[in-house]
């Protein structure tokens, strides 16, 4: 039985009430007095030199308040790393993709702004563009960025040694190549930003974000104003999935327009802008060469991955690494060599989507199934023989503490009825398994830690301050649960102030799956410290030692004698009467190897904990149309500790939908010469309620020693493993191992036909 009151309960989320009443305010819902409408002029060409931008006609239009171009900027270039600063927020020399920002406009209303947009006269000189990463590397035409030869943005090389020797020792070696096109986030909320400069010349800004502090720094750099003058405010956020962590040029353009007009400005993206003007997931071509022994244990692997990075670097070094990291975490490999290349092309910018680099689209699990079949091993057994075990080090020297991967495999196998189904299903029915692992955090230097402040009010309620942001996954509820549990209060006694850079300390954000582990832990530590102050006061009143006390249900009581107690509210008031307010701070900094660097030194402790997940999917394929009906999904993850199973199940289910059903069956982008054809919700095929299978969620708790209450990353390992399970299930149903993702009906049908011809 759990010792906790609130942690581990199926507590409905604190933010739901406002959302079901339509009262929760998202950025586009904001209205400020005198607010103007902002719009962005984007390049209609994939690669074109800017000869001139004439804004005079636009400025002459009545109702237009300002037009900004690259000339109005400080010329600062943005990049996640010092060595990847390659993107201006308003281009001055040339545009590198269709959608690149060249000007911004602010007007009294939308109609005027749209009209003015057409009146901005840009003289372009079109240049040869390149859209395929392999062509880009060989291209003889002008580089997309001069400083990057062969259009290679990033090269990550990892070699754990003895790869060639181990290939020689291998019993069976095979090499396969897998391809996957780009995909997109399609957050429910299109991107929007509201900005204004207040009377103290502080920039106040609202926008969907994966971490307010990750927005404030680049804004402070761009405007050359101190950090305290950039106030990123909390606002409800309609989904992020990794697509809102970085600064968006619109943030800067909106703020620049606000500065120039001295009025608040709002920019709302169209769905098309959200698709091409934020980030996308990388297209990838991955080759795995894997050597195994007779029992199927992987002795050596060499993986080469070419990633289409689009026009700018974004989180390039991370994106180029993570596909590899996921596979090295989940499976043991005797030795491994990895070469990841991120290539510039004249297409929209690629960033992280759910995780960086889409490891699930690398085909590693498909190859594992191929090897298993060759050796006559069941895919489940194949995974168990290679699965990560607790207490081991990964190839790049990260220690894995808690790990219940095997348990997730066993439980998913049992619940799905794998043993009764594998090899025994009727034709065109299939079952497939995927396993994966995700990091709980990255080394993030001075921004890797989080700090929380807690103050008690005289009514016995507490205000909790935290930099953690909620993108929709339930982070705010998580913080409230932790604070209430730790302080002995009820959730309704907690007033949360979060995701506001003016009032909260630096925090890594809802980024790298670290909100609970780092931000939650900071709140837990602050609450613990605050509780000790309460105990000190209470101990004097109750005449016992502070360490004999506990707090629960708004009461402080003696652990061995609960009837000896005092309300927390009373303790707070007595403390105040003794000239001491009750407040505290607490923080958490993950112990990672600060010398680890993505490109120059990809070795050392990556993060403190890793999550592990298994998904099993059962499908039926229509052999005449290639259409897939998904019958069942079982999602099982080692989350360390489930702080709230209700919320967690929702994360698992969403992961199956986006990672599996969308990621592997229906979602991908189509192009015509650098123009993204399917930017809208009609043309980009997001999964629907009527097409989703029932999903069974199973939570495995390995209790991570370093996590808050034992918690670590939750649900991303489902998104990743679900994708693999979907493809494995289809492969099993049709008896063909597909090497081109996603598995659309046309590809499935071709595979079925090709197989028929052969047999």
């Amino acid at each position: 039985m759990s010792d906790y009151t609130i942690i581990g309960s199926r507590m409905p989320r604190v933010d739901s009430r406002a959302k079901v009443m339509g009262k929760a305010k998202f950025t586009a819902d904001l209205k400020l007095p005198g607010m103007l409408v902002g719009k962005i002029k984007r390049s209609p060409y994939a690669h074109a030199r800017i000869i001139n931008i004439d804004t005079s006609k636009a400025l002459a239009l009545p109702g237009v308040k300002a037009v900004v171009t690259g000339k109005d900027t400080e010329g600062v270039k943005w990049g996640v790393f010092a060595y990847t600063r390659d993107q201006q927020f308003l281009q001055t020399d040339k545009a590198r993709y269709i959608g690149d920002e060249v000007a911004g406009i602010a007007a009294v209303d939308e109609e005027t702004a749209l009209k003015a947009l057409d009146l901005i006269d840009v003289t372009w000189e079109e240049m040869p563009a390149v859209f395929d990463p392999m062509e880009a590397m060989a291209s003889q035409t002008e580089l997309i960025h001069e400083e990057y030869p062969n259009n290679i943005n990033i090269h990550v090389n990892i070699d754990t040694g003895e790869v060639d020797e181990n290939f020689k020792k291998s019993y069976y070696i095979r090499e396969d190549t897998f391809t996957a096109p780009e995909e997109s986030y399609f957050q429910a909320e299109p991107y929007a930003v509201v900005a204004r400069f207040d009377h103290e010349e502080c920039l106040e800004i609202w926008c969907p974000n994966g971490g307010p502090h990750m927005k404030s720094k680049p804004l402070s750099n761009s405007f050359k104003i101190p950090l305290h003058k950039v106030k990123v405010r909390r606002i409800a956020i309609g989904g992020a999935f990794g697509g809102r962590s970085e600064i968006c040029p619109a943030d800067y353009i909106c703020a620049l327009l606000a500065k120039k007009t001295n009025c608040p400005v709002k920019i709302e993206f169209t769905r098309e802008e959200n698709t091409i003007g934020t980030r996308q997931g990388h297209a990838m071509i991955t080759t795995h060469k894997t050597g195994v022994d007779k029992e199927g244990k992987v002795l050596a692997r060499e993986t080469t991955c070419y990633m289409d990075g689009g026009a700018y670097s974004s989180t390039g070094p991370i994106a180029t690494s993570v596909p590899f990291l996921s596979m090295e975490q989940v499976y043991r490999m005797g030795s491994v060599r990895y070469n990841g290349y991120r290539i510039y092309t004249n297409k929209p910018i690629r960033g992280m989507i759910r995780v960086h680099g889409r490891g699930f689209a690398c085909g590693l699990d498909t190859q594992l199934d191929l090897i298993a079949e060759h050796l006559g091993i069941d895919p489940v057994e194949m995974r168990l023989r290679n699965s990560r075990q607790p207490g081991e080090y990964t190839g790049t020297k990260s220690y894995v503490d808690s790990c219940a991967l095997d348990e997730t495999i066993h439980k998913a196998v049992e619940t799905s009825g794998w043993k009764e189904k594998w090899g025994k299903l009727p034709p065109f029915h299939g079952i497939g398994i995927g396993t994966n692992s995700v990091q709980t955090g990255f080394p993030m230097g001075i921004r890797g830690g989080s700090q929380s402040f807690i103050k008690f009010n005289e009514d016995g309620e507490a205000t909790v301050m935290s930099g953690v942001v909620d993108n929709g996954q339930g982070n705010e509820n998580m913080l409230v649960q932790i604070a209430a549990e730790e302080l002995g209060l009820l959730p309704e006694d907690i007033h949360l102030v979060n995701a506001d850079t003016e009032t909260t300390s630096s925090d890594p954000g809802s980024y790298s799956q670290v909100s609970t582990f780092v931000g939650g832990q900071a709140v837990k530590n602050a609450a613990y410290n605050c509780k000790q102050k309460l105990f000190e006061v209470a101990s004097k009143i109750l005449k016992v030692a502070p360490d004999t006390l506990a707090a629960k249900n708004r009461m402080i009581f003696v652990k061995d004698n609960p009837e000896k107690c005092i309300p927390i509210k009373k303790v707070v008031r007595i403390s105040l009467l003794n000239f001491t307010s009750v407040n505290a701070e607490g923080g958490y900094w993950p112990k990672v190897d600060m010398k680890r660097e993505w490109v120059s030194n990809p070795y050392g402790q990556m993060c403190e904990a890793f999550s592990f997940g298994t998904t099993i999917i059962e499908v039926k394929v229509d052999p005449e149309t290639g259409q897939v009906t998904v019958m069942n999904a079982v999602a099982c993850q080692d989350v360390g500790k489930a702080l709230n199973p209700l919320v967690l199940e929702g994360q698992f289910e969403g992961s199956v939908a986006m990672g599996g059903q969308g990621g592997m069956l229906t979602e991908y982008h189509e192009w015509k010469e650098g123009r993204c054809i399917n930017t809208t919700m009609l043309d980009y095929k997001l999964p629907l309620a009527c097409d989703m299978p029932p999903i069974k969620s199973i939570i495995v708790e390995s209790i991570e020693p370093k996590g808050p209450y034992g918690a670590k990353e939750a649900a991303m390992s489902i998104a990743m493993s679900a994708a693999q399970a979907y493809s494995a299930a289809v492969n099993n149903a049709i008896g063909v191992y597909m090497d081109s993702f996603p598995l659309t009906p046309d590809k499935i049908l071709s595979a079925i036909k090709a197989k028929k011809r052969l047999s």
Binding site: T5, I6, G8, R10, M11, P12, R13, D15, S16, R17, A18, K19, V20, M21, G22, K23, K25, F26, A28, D29, Y185, F186, Q187, A188, E189, P190, A236, G238, G239, F241, T270, R271, G472, Q473, G474, L490, P491, L646, V647, E649, G650, F652, E653, G654, S655, V656, A657, M658, Q661, T680, M681, L682, L686, P687, L688, A689, C690, M692, P694, I695
Partner: protein
């Protein structure tokens, strides 16, 4: 063209508004009347985030001219609760964890509310079909479907039907 004065009946209250012919109902709700619960996500009648009810039927307010909405009884997400008292469906969404980012929630609720009025005890397939035009990117729909099913028909074996708002002892 000139602006026109019309009356819209929204959540049982008449609102006199001045609109342009090219104003959509969604724009008038959000921009003129500050009823920002209805959301624009796709703007072309696909995603369902802007769904409101007209005479009890769910419709896309982004593809309905404000002028075409005159006379009808319009219900928006703001009209689901009775003051502070949530409707059973709203409470069920909360209790079953059907809300994540919450951006699709208002439209989802308006479609589901209309379904439950027409069919108080829909089975799972009926619910999934009825919600086919409301896209949610967060939930995988599982908890939304359960929330709709259990809104009118609470289940004894559902851990979330009864403990709404309460934490475990």
């Amino acid at each position: 063209m000139d602006k026109i004065d019309i009356t819209l009946n929204i959540n049982n209250k008449p609102f006199e508004v001045t609109v342009s012919p090219n104003d959509t109902l969604l724009e008038v709700l959000r921009d003129t009347l500050d009823l920002t619960g209805s959301k624009e996500s796709c703007g072309e009648g696909v995603c369902g985030s802007c769904t409101v009810q007209m005479d009890g039927n769910p419709v896309r307010s982004c593809l309905t001219l404000a002028m075409e909405a005159e006379v009808a009884n319009i219900k928006t997400v703001e009209g689901l609760a009775n003051g502070d008292e949530l409707s059973g469906l709203q409470q069920s969404f909360i209790d079953h964890g059907a809300v994540q980012c919450g951006f699709c929630t208002p439209g989802m609720l308006m479609t589901a509310d209309a379904l439950l009025h027409a069919n108080p005890n829909p089975d799972e397939n009926t619910i999934r079909k009825a919600l086919g035009g409301n896209i949610c990117r967060c939930t995988g729909y599982a908890k939304i479907v359960t929330a709709v099913a259990h809104a009118s028909d609470p289940q004894d074996d559902c851990p979330d039907c009864k403990n709404g708002g309460k934490t475990k002892e």
